[in-house]
């Protein structure tokens, strides 16, 4: 396929065998590169295996020396993993991206209005568009938020929406991560490494910049500072600490946004105001970019055994003296049993036609869906509604009889806790393997940043399965990542 003139050394595309059914992000059905991929395919085609290997080695060294790791085990020093990075970028055509961007912005507007509604008038529940029981029984529903207006009425300051592409090339929404989505630091670091390894390639292909993310996020936060904040509000990033698997990302973002990285123990609340413990005494804090889940945020309100949070933080929050990003209680929108209603939310709140479609979803809390799901487990992907990272799920087609019967029990015991979706054959992107390039399934997580207005990072995290045929791309399940290129 598209192999350059044959020489002794095998070139990158020499042995690339396309996937029989999946959409290929680089090549069309006739094995020709998509229009927006031509320059990339051609340039990569000039590389010999050996040269490519050398660049891979260079890239790995950058990650290792910079300690760009995603997982740290507290019990054994020095066991840190680098997130496997694949050097073949995943391009997205500019016009296609513009449409995606519109779709994502539409979604976040609706989700934000939904959250406000749920914690205020509950119109959407009263009009029975979404069942009230489904919402108030969600584990992530927070009665503490009822009647409270977060600064700027903004709830989901950062949303990571997972998209997949079906065999027809259509992008579908798999889920919205509206609590504390992670991974954006890899988007930025991947780009740095790509520019280091393939500087010339960037001159040939015009790729939209991702480097502005930290500043954009900072500006978004400042635009929703609490009224009590002065001219230069203090923003801090609250991390669970150095043993958290995403600590690298927390530190990366704090560094690049020019804000302090703090742990719960560094903050305290006095007279409904939040203070930072510094070497020169207390300093007021106005905005907290928290990477700690609701449950651990304030031991006097949520889990009382939490050492990660700040006692009485909710009091300061409800007094309007601090902005929390994301707001408390957003999980009710990213509950997998409520996500299927986002299209309805768009129609209800915006009176618009949804631009992006969801993957069809069976909600086990509904009797008819439940009966269908337990009968078709071998065809479906079943997911626990509040899990992420590829945990608590059943991949029907590759499951054993025993796994299915165990899952059937679990679902029947607690139907509200499960949803199911048909298996989507995710699109593939050429990816380096031990045998040269092979097609591997990928997804895409764009990041939407919202303050008074919203902005979508052009690109996002492309996660890739590294095992042939695998549809699971999560890093915790051995997946890797790629640089995502939105072409000009």
């Amino acid at each position: 396929m598209s192999a350059p003139t044959s020489t002794q050394e095998p070139h990158l595309w020499t042995n690339y065998a396309p996937h029989p059914t999946a959409w290929d992000e680089l090549f069309d059905g006739a094995a020709e590169p998509h229009d927006h991929c031509q320059a990339l395919v051609q340039w990569l085609g000039q590389l010999e295996f050996k040269q490519f290997q050398e660049r891979r080695h260079t890239a790995d060294l950058v990650f290792i020396n910079q300690g760009i790791t995603f997982s740290v085990y507290a019990d054994r020093r020095g066991v840190e993993k680098i997130f496997p990075f694949d050097l073949i970028p995943r391009p997205v055509a500019g016009d296609e991206w513009d449409r995606l961007e519109d779709g994502l912005l539409q979604r976040i507007r609706a989700i934000n209005l939904f959250l406000y509604d749920v914690y205020h008038d509950r119109r959407i529940l009263r009009e029975k568009i979404i069942s009230e029981e489904l919402v108030v029984k969600s584990k992530c529903y927070r009665p503490e938020m009822i009647g409270f207006d977060p600064p700027g009425k903004q709830y989901v300051h950062i949303c990571g929406t997972d998209l997949v592409r079906d065999p027809k090339g259509q992008f579908l929404v798999l889920e919205d991560n509206g609590r504390t989505p992670s991974g954006v630091s890899y988007v930025l670091e991947n780009r740095v490494v790509m520019k280091k390894v393939f500087p010339k390639l960037f001159q040939q292909c015009k790729v939209r910049r991702v480097e502005d993310y930290p500043q954009r996020l900072r500006e978004a936060f400042l635009s929703v500072a609490p009224p009590s904040a002065g001219h230069a509000p203090t923003i801090v990033l609250l991390t669970p600490g150095p043993f958290n698997s995403a600590y690298f990302e927390h530190s990366f973002l704090a560094r690049n946004m020019g804000i302090e990285l703090v742990m719960g123990q560094d903050l305290f609340v006095h007279d409904e105001r939040v203070y930072l413990k510094t070497t020169r005494g207390p300093r007021r804090v106005d905005i907290i970019y928290r990477r700690v889940d609701d449950d651990f945020l304030d031991p006097t309100v949520f889990r009382e055994d939490s050492l990660l949070g700040v006692p009485h933080l909710m009091k300061a929050y409800r007094a309007g003296n601090v902005t929390l990003a994301n707001a408390v209680g957003t999980g009710v929108a990213d509950d997998k049993a409520i996500y299927p209603f986002v299209e309805d939310m768009i129609r209800f709140y915006l009176s618009e036609t949804p631009i992006l479609k969801n993957v069809p979803t069976y909600i086990c809390a509904r009797r008819e869906d439940l009966l269908y799901v337990v009968d078709h487990l071998d065809e479906l992907v079943v997911k626990a509604v509040n899990e992420s990272g590829g945990y608590g799920m059943l991949m029907g087609p590759s499951s054993t009889v025993q796994m299915r019967s165990e899952f059937r029990e679990k679902i029947l015991a607690n139907p509200r806790n499960y949803i199911a979706q048909p298996v989507v054959t995710l699109s593939v992107c050429p990816t380096w393997t031990d045998d040269g390039l092979g097609p591997r399934h990928v997804d895409l997580r764009p990041y939407i940043v919202s303050g008074q207005s919203s902005w979508v990072l052009p690109g996002g995290l492309t996660r890739t399965a590294l095992v042939k045929g695998s549809l699971v791309v999560n890093s915790s399940q051995g997946g890797g990542s790629k640089d995502t290129w939105v072409m000009e």
Partner: protein
């Protein structure tokens, strides 16, 4: 800056300094043993003693001691532990130190855990220790040129010089534990070799000879290492650097009393300013050095109380009374 972060800064530099000094001590003892016939059971004992290790089973086994002080992760004084601790502190405050600095700390940490360092240790031990000694110097240089010279930098320097003052005192104390066969050996080649070794382990050999010309008597070395006003590893010089950093942090003026840590530091400096080497020898050099080491330890504790332990209750009271 955040109290917790300041503490990590302070400890990162202390661990780097420790890492360097352990390598210095091991290296110099090896060199010394090449020249003199020291009874086996005494060869490594002084090194263990100054490292605070009193129960090492294999104390007369040269390789075992070196291994323990270099590679043993369970030994908190080992080179591996010190560098791992420095790196862990650096990792936690990565957003405070410069990217270049983090990258190098991480690089050396990976180097020390990789096959190349192990091979160097086996085949060219002297170069191995030299390499370890260089780590601190290189990192300090990188930090100096790439990280803002604000409060974090001052905590970094305060930790560094406090630790170095302590390490110099410890190294000097090795001499006390290196037994001479009989008192008649004072000022003989063996005695002088000991002093020379001490000087070399602190990079003090050349600076000493530039100023003193000869090693007329051993205490001249002790005098130099405790009191020299310009030698960068003398106890007094290090304490003055530490004080300088401490004043920058607190913003204290000359005529103000300062916080607990500052007062203690000043007392120690004054005590040394008014003493001579003869006073120290008269009181017993080992006893005097022990006093220095213990006081430095107490100063470290006072620094913790003054800057790192945030007294929430007291501050809340202040806030309530409206002084923010």
């Amino acid at each position: 800056m955040i109290s917790r972060v300041a503490e990590h800064c302070f400890w990162m530099s202390r661990y780097l300094e420790r890492c360097e000094n352990t390598a210095r001590v091991l290296d110099v003892n090896r060199t010394l043993l090449l020249d003199f016939d020291v009874p086996e059971e005494q060869q490594w004992k002084p090194i263990l003693i100054i490292s605070g290790i009193h129960d090492f089973a294999d104390a007369s086994n040269s390789e075992a001691v070196q291994h323990h002080l270099t590679w043993q992760a369970e030994n908190p004084c080992s080179i591996v532990s010190s560098l791992a601790n420095a790196r862990e502190n650096a990792r936690i405050i990565r957003e405070i130190i410069s990217a270049e600095m983090w990258e190098r700390v991480n690089y050396y940490y990976l180097w020390l855990h990789g096959p190349r360092a192990e091979a160097m240790y086996e085949h060219d031990r002297s170069e191995f220790f030299s390499q370890v000694k260089r780590i601190n110097g290189l990192l300090f240089g990188i930090a100096e040129g790439s990280m803002s010279h604000g409060e974090a930098w001052d905590f970094f320097r305060m930790g560094k010089y406090l630790e170095r003052a302590c390490q110099t005192a410890r190294i000097l104390d090795v001499k006390y534990h290196m037994l001479l066969p009989t008192p008649e050996f004072v000022n003989t080649p063996i005695d002088n070799a000991h002093w020379t070794a001490i000087l070399k382990s602190c990079s003090g050999y050349e600076p000493f000879h530039k100023q003193r010309h000869s090693l007329e008597q051993g205490t001249a070395v002790a005098d130099f290492m405790v009191f020299d006003p310009i030698f960068p590893r003398s106890v007094q010089r290090c304490l003055l650097y530490c004080q300088e950093a401490s004043h920058k942090i607190s913003g204290r003026k000359r005529n103000e009393a300062g916080n607990e840590a500052e007062r203690m530091l000043e007392n120690l400096i004054d005590w040394l300013r008014l003493a001579t080497i003869d006073d120290l020898v008269k009181a017993g050099l080992h006893e005097s050095l022990t006093k220095v080491i213990n006081t430095i330890h107490d100063i470290g504790e006072a620094i913790r109380r003054s800057y790192f332990d945030f007294d929430e209750a007291r501050v809340m009271e202040m806030l309530t009374n409206g002084q923010q």
